[in-house]
Symmetry: C2
Subunit: 372 residues, 2 copies
């Protein structure tokens, strides 16, 4: 069996893009087919197209829905490496950035001006993402030239606009009804903003944790010393947001924790310093979903982030992270609020993947032993 | 620019196979083109086809020579990951296994019987490798079924026969003229066989190092305690083999050291227990070149390996390594000695790789700034 796929880079991920028509009944369902195409289960994925890391074992399944309002509908698949399984539980912001470019390259959407707008819908989350791809004079440049942090080669600029991202998990932007809560943990009272946009996030003030806004490079070490208290805060926040019934039942992955402070005086290139915690540890980067939550919090009076950014509220917000500055943008249009972030994307290769085995392991007995 | 390539698994490596006609002048020389296609320099190779590990950042360049005696000539390229550079210094045994299968799949060689014989020549080393691919009833089976250690999915069985591999580095199988030398190091005298076949290897007896043949699983720890003495032996061997003028000038990578013993009495599945040292450390596996050297040593009277295997010399030799048993075979034909090892290979995908940039970074100034 041969399967057609485009191998694309979206942001800092590599993604295999399949059209949904190639998947069908049980035997060719993506749950069965994707792990085998990727070479799973195998920690090296040596017999398949997977890259043996979480950011290179990803697939996108795309199709053109009948719905006129949506140009492309897409489903993200995190393909297991050591397990022959697919996780459909979330979207990937980086891989999302390939969808608009794919639609243009395949002729599904025809560029007509300097920016081509592609309305996409992610089926994992229900999130509508309005993508804007640079098409100067109505065409993709032959040589893409847009740069982004973490990628040493240029790609096509893709703006990802998350339409009305608030409350997708809990039903509202501020699930407790308040922009700032007081949480007691480790013998101290902490100010926390509990926000649901893109993903549920608990936002804390760096100063309360004794972290110096002027010395951002000291935060890693300072955060490491307070992980236990931070985890207590996070679990209480999970309960208040309605994500868990008790603190002991709170999930490891959500909500995430973000620690924020005004930028250092020497840092003219950002509006806020951020350190994210993911799975209990300080994280060098910022997931796209996290940047959406912080951007909406920065626009919401009363949050700990609004206090930092209100004097400087512009359509763009520049978030300092250990891995570099992430810039987000906001706009209101036709009654919707769109929060966006820019990525770059590029098609690495056009491929036909060969799948010799039948998936149910039925083999022609006459071939058995036909080896040297 | 578009470049056609087959993405193939050869043994436990992934290899990108290019036909040489796609490379030409300076701008399209493989030294310039391969690193960019692979996404180098970048420790993640996120914008290219490289897999960001040494076993997944490999290329083969193949062509059909005018020479009637050779079906396919191939050049191995180890593509740098953090450096935009290509190492042409050696061949890769695993990737070699894709060449015969490629020739059959492209119709360069037509199968006529149950085994198709493809004569290949590696240009990095000058080594002729006679490949035998299983083609029952004169065709590749639709479903490949051959298994090998380290690869969880089946492939096509490929036998790699190294023709007259002795002396490719030093000029002779036994560069000192003797099958066993005595080397003094660490206050003791050691028996060593210095052999050049596939690669230069120093072979030592496990018993002399106090390693118990009946307790193979204790060797790792026992070898770790004697690394300094082993390095002294290795450096003296390098001088005696003519690979270095003085012990201090001996290279890190060659010669390699192999420690051998009769198999444990409980081990009916091997003919010899082997532990290889690579770059100063015990290695869990055995490079194909190392297995060729040991096989030729086992056939050569007077070597420390001949003493172990002479009572049991068969056309095949089973080498116990921590990663599993490697089986080699030997045959004499038309005045040549062929030492072989079996691998499996498979084509993962047929691809067109997209290279948007011009390599000299000349860009159309009218496109500058054409980003969102």
């Amino acid at each position: 069996m041969n399967i057609e796929a485009e191998w694309m880079r979206g942001g800092t991920s590599k993604c295999w893009v399949f059209e949904s028509g190639q998947f069908g009944d049980t035997e060719t369902s993506p749950d069965a087919l994707l792990p085998r195409l990727f070479g799973s289960p195998d920690h090296r994925q040596i017999d398949g197209v997977g890259g043996a890391t979480s950011t290179t074992s990803k697939a996108m399944i795309v199709h053109r829905p009948a719905d006129d309002d949506i140009d492309v509908e897409f489903t993200f698949a995190q393909v297991g490496i050591e397990e022959a399984a697919v996780d459909w539980g979330s979207n990937c912001g980086n891989c999302s950035a390939v969808v608009g470019l794919y639609a243009i390259e395949k002729g599904w959407v025809t560029p007509t001006s300097d920016i081509t707008r592609i309305v996409t819908r992610n089926t994992n989350t229900g999130q509508i993402i309005i993508q804007r791809v640079s098409t100067p004079a109505g065409a993709l440049p032959i040589v893409p030239q847009a740069e982004m942090p973490g990628v040493p080669f240029p790609g096509y600029r893709v703006g990802l606009g998350f339409q009305d991202p608030a409350g997708k998990t809990t039903g509202s932007l501020l699930p407790t009804g308040s922009a700032a809560e007081t949480i007691s943990a480790g013998g101290t009272r902490w100010t926390a903003s509990l926000v649901d946009a893109g993903a549920p996030v608990v936002i804390l003030r760096a100063e309360e944790l004794g972290l110096d806004p002027e010395r951002y490079d000291s935060w890693f070490a300072g955060v490491e010393l307070q992980l236990e208290t931070l985890e207590q805060i996070r679990r209480q926040a999970a309960v208040r947001m309605g994500l868990a019934a008790t603190t002991s039942e709170a999930a490891r992955a959500i909500p995430k924790v973000a620690i924020v402070a005004p930028p250092a005086q020497s840092d003219a290139g950002s509006d806020v310093s951020v350190m994210m915690l993911s799975m209990g540890k300080p994280h060098p980067a910022l997931a796209i979903t996290g940047s959406i939550a912080l951007t909406l919090a920065a626009r919401t009076p009363g949050t700990v982030l609004y206090d930092i950014t209100e004097h400087n509220l512009r359509p763009t917000l520049r978030l300092r992270t250990p891995a570099g500055v992430i810039e987000t943008w906001s706009e209101e249009k036709d009654g919707s609020l769109i929060i966006g972030v820019d990525r770059t994307a590029r098609t690495i290769a056009t491929t036909t993947i060969h799948l010799p085995e039948t998936l149910d392991n039925t083999v022609d007995a006459s071939l058995a032993g036909a080896t040297r």
